[in-house]
């Protein structure tokens, strides 16, 4: 006889769902607010990081080394891809330790454990939303003007969100058992940074390597972003990888990561309070 958990009368299902979203939203908003609590510049600090790194990259690569001469709107591409890359790895990095960071709640209250990583994702989305405003302003200044194709950003960001959240879910439960996931992820995210065509464009990769290169979902998304946002004359992700069917490879990776992450999380979630 196993636990008759179903008999535990809690709230009605719609009430439970409502609580789930209220809780996710509230945790995300609270953390978002807290991040800037007591700092003078407040949200401006969120912008400092991508723009400072962008400044360095632009100076070193574009000015000193002369990379990106043949890439149209190179600064706009670097800034946009940097923001999107940091968004994705930001979700993973924060999700990684989110269960451990919130152990006080996990040990004392019953609530759907999924609330915690999802509130992390939501918080990163708030960050991204505000950063994007600054990015758009920068792009307008540097001569890249809005177009209808910019709406492609919505599905592209959705893909990155799914990928980051899936990876975050997986790493968060692993981190509960193995604390060395942190340095592992630090190294991995560095490698991913150089493998994801943030500093350069995918089309500058040797022709024969472009296809395996775009198997990396982030690289594929950034390549498509270049076409949609920065330079309509640039090749799309499908053209670069060699056919739309081949896009199933990065797409498949995203789906598999999301499924594995969800499966691992759902499996570990009921036990997480006692394993912390």
């Amino acid at each position: 006889m196993t636990v008759a958990a179903a008999a535990r009368r809690r709230l009605s299902p719609e009430h439970e769902t409502r609580r789930f979203w209220h809780l996710t939203w509230t945790l995300a908003v609270t953390d978002f607010k807290l991040k800037f609590y007591g700092s003078v510049l407040g949200f401006a600090w969120t912008l400092v990081r991508p723009f400072a790194i962008f400044g360095v990259i632009w100076l070193v690569f574009a000015k000193v080394m002369g990379t990106g001469h043949n890439v149209k709107n190179y600064p706009a591409y670097v800034l946009m891809s940097l923001v999107l890359f940091q968004y994705t790895t930001g979700i993973v990095g924060m999700s990684l330790s989110c269960l451990v960071d919130r152990q006080n709640l996990l040990r004392k209250i019953r609530f759907p454990r999924l609330v915690i990583p999802l509130s992390v994702t939501l918080q990163c989305m708030f960050d991204l939303g505000l950063t994007m405003i600054a990015v758009f302003i920068f792009m307008a200044i540097s001569g890249v003007y809005p177009a209808w194709s910019w709406f492609e950003l919505v599905p592209l960001i959705a893909i990155l969100t799914l990928f980051g959240t899936g990876l975050g879910l997986l790493l968060s439960v692993l981190f509960v058992r193995f604390r060395d996931m942190r340095p592992i992820w630090d190294v991995l995210s560095q490698m991913l940074f150089y493998a994801s065509a943030v500093l350069y464009v995918a089309t500058s990769v040797p022709e024969n390597l472009q296809r395996p290169f775009l198997a990396n979902p982030i690289a594929a998304v950034l390549t498509q972003m270049r076409h949609a946002v920065v330079d309509p004359t640039a090749r799309t992700a499908a053209e670069t990888i060699g056919g739309e069917a081949r896009l199933l490879i990065p797409a498949g990776i995203v789906v598999v990561v999301a499924l594995v992450g969800s499966w691992a999380f759902m499996r570990e979630a009921p036990k997480v309070a006692e394993n912390l």
Partner: protein, 428 residues
């Protein structure tokens, strides 16, 4: 919003498992919480691995585990509207049990059936953030406990009013005193619409006035018919609020019964005197192996057994003991309690007599304690006990409330005792 009927349909069939402890709850209504055969084991590795390297270097040694049975085959029921205390020493498994009830831990086997809305938290003020203001914290906490944002805002004023923190609403919590924080937490908690509250150590903090307020709030919750499960070390709280209590030791239920009985058992356990497993449900403790208390009564100075006594007259409390084995220097003790269960007077033979002597097998003896009655009008009971002498005095027999006595007077003063006194006036 509450729909107990719906809940009834989802009750498991395990509810009426044979072997379930009979409880004082009426059989006619189904219990609020019904636990049957609950088990929870923690696997504690001999070495705790938290890095991959350690696991790689010692791949096999991690297989040895110590199994800690935190909850071992527990079965009990808690009735609707009942205030139920769970007491036990540190590490006895009571908090684990509460976490299983709350759904924070998953139990290994057994069933828990709950009827009514169960509060999701087991501690006050969980999730309070010291950087946030009281306002933000109240909203955050209320949402965490199941209210919607709108409901939380609607009840905000009521919560702050109850906590009496109107002036400090926009002060960050880090500037609050611990008492103020608890006040706030308690205020949020009582606003949460739960039929069943689970609380782990609530009354440890707060000033006297606030504790009084919590007590009143408890009474209010009781009147509303809410069910409360309280895990505590505070026997005063158990005796004051609980309708029933349960003593837990090493993951098993040692005793279930009235709050006073359990509080006493807990104290005995804490002082290491209770013989394991020898608690009977009728308020009798000890193994009664070496000796047995056959009877107890009150008598007046003429040696007549009495049930009532005019205030101010002397009387004796007596017990009759039958020895089953020879005993050297046993200790006889009496506890006299009044109606509100306060111990008015306690005495034991080794405090007053150097030697009571040795007793043979089969011997009967009557122990008599005469005292000038300073007792105020009330109903009193005496609990006689016999224990073995020596360092860790072993309880042989203790019978709770074996005899009673009503002290009456024409004037009720409201005092607990009537101390002999005289007036003098000095007039200049």
């Amino acid at each position: 919003m509450k729909s107990p009927l719906l809940a009834l349909t989802s009750l498991p069939t395990a509810l009426h498992t044979p072997g379930l402890e009979p409880s004082v709850t009426t059989a006619a209504t189904s219990p609020a919480i019904s636990v049957s055969g609950l088990n929870k084991t923690f696997r504690l590795p001999h070495r705790r691995y938290s890095t991959l390297k350690e696991r790689v270097l010692h791949p096999f040694s991690a297989r040895s585990f110590d199994e800690l049975r935190a909850v071992n085959e527990m079965s009990f029921e808690i009735a609707h509207g009942e205030f139920f205390g769970i007491v036990g020493r540190n590490g006895s498994g009571k908090s684990t049990l509460l976490k299983c009830l709350a759904g924070i831990y998953r139990s290994d086997s057994g069933s828990i059936a709950v009827e009514g809305r169960l509060s999701p938290f087991i501690e006050l003020g969980v999730g309070f953030n010291s950087e946030l203001t009281a306002r933000d914290n109240v909203i955050l906490n209320a949402i965490m406990l199941g209210l919607s944002r709108k409901e939380a805002r609607m009840r905000f004023d009521k919560i702050i009013e109850f906590a009496e923190l109107e002036e400090f609403v926009d002060l960050p919590l880090k500037n609050y005193s611990s008492g103020m924080t608890v006040r706030l937490a308690f205020a949020v908690t009582v606003e949460v619409e739960a039929d069943i509250l689970l609380i782990d150590e609530v009354l440890a903090v707060g000033d006297a006035a606030f504790q009084q307020k919590c007590y009143e709030q408890f009474e209010q919750l009781r009147r509303e018919g809410r069910t409360m499960v309280l895990v505590t070390h505070d026997m005063v709280a158990v005796e004051r609020f609980c309708d029933r209590a349960m003593l837990v030791e090493r993951g098993t239920i040692t005793a279930t019964g009235g709050p006073h009985e359990i509080a006493l058992a807990y104290n005995e356990l804490n002082f290491g005197r209770l013989v394991e497993g020898a608690v009977a449900s009728d308020g009798r403790y000890g193994d009664q192996g070496a000796a047995e208390i056959k009877d107890a009564w009150f008598e007046d100075d003429h040696g007549e057994r009495i049930k009532e006594l005019p205030q101010g007259e002397a009387c004796s409390m007596c017990m009759e003991v039958l020895f089953h084995e020879s005993m050297a220097e046993p200790i006889f003790a009496f506890h006299l309690r009044n109606e509100p269960r306060h111990t008015v007077f306690a005495t034991q033979s080794d405090w007053r007599m150097e030697h009571v002597g040795d007793f043979r097998r089969g011997e009967r003896t009557i122990v008599r304690v005469r005292f000038d009655s300073w007792l105020a009008p009330n109903r009193y009971t005496v609990s006689p006990s016999v224990a073995r002498a020596g360092g860790g005095a072993d309880l042989v027999d203790l019978r709770e409330d074996l005899a009673d006595l009503v002290v009456h007077a024409t004037r009720v003063t409201g005092g607990i005792i009537e101390v002999p006194h005289t007036y003098t006036l000095e007039r200049s």
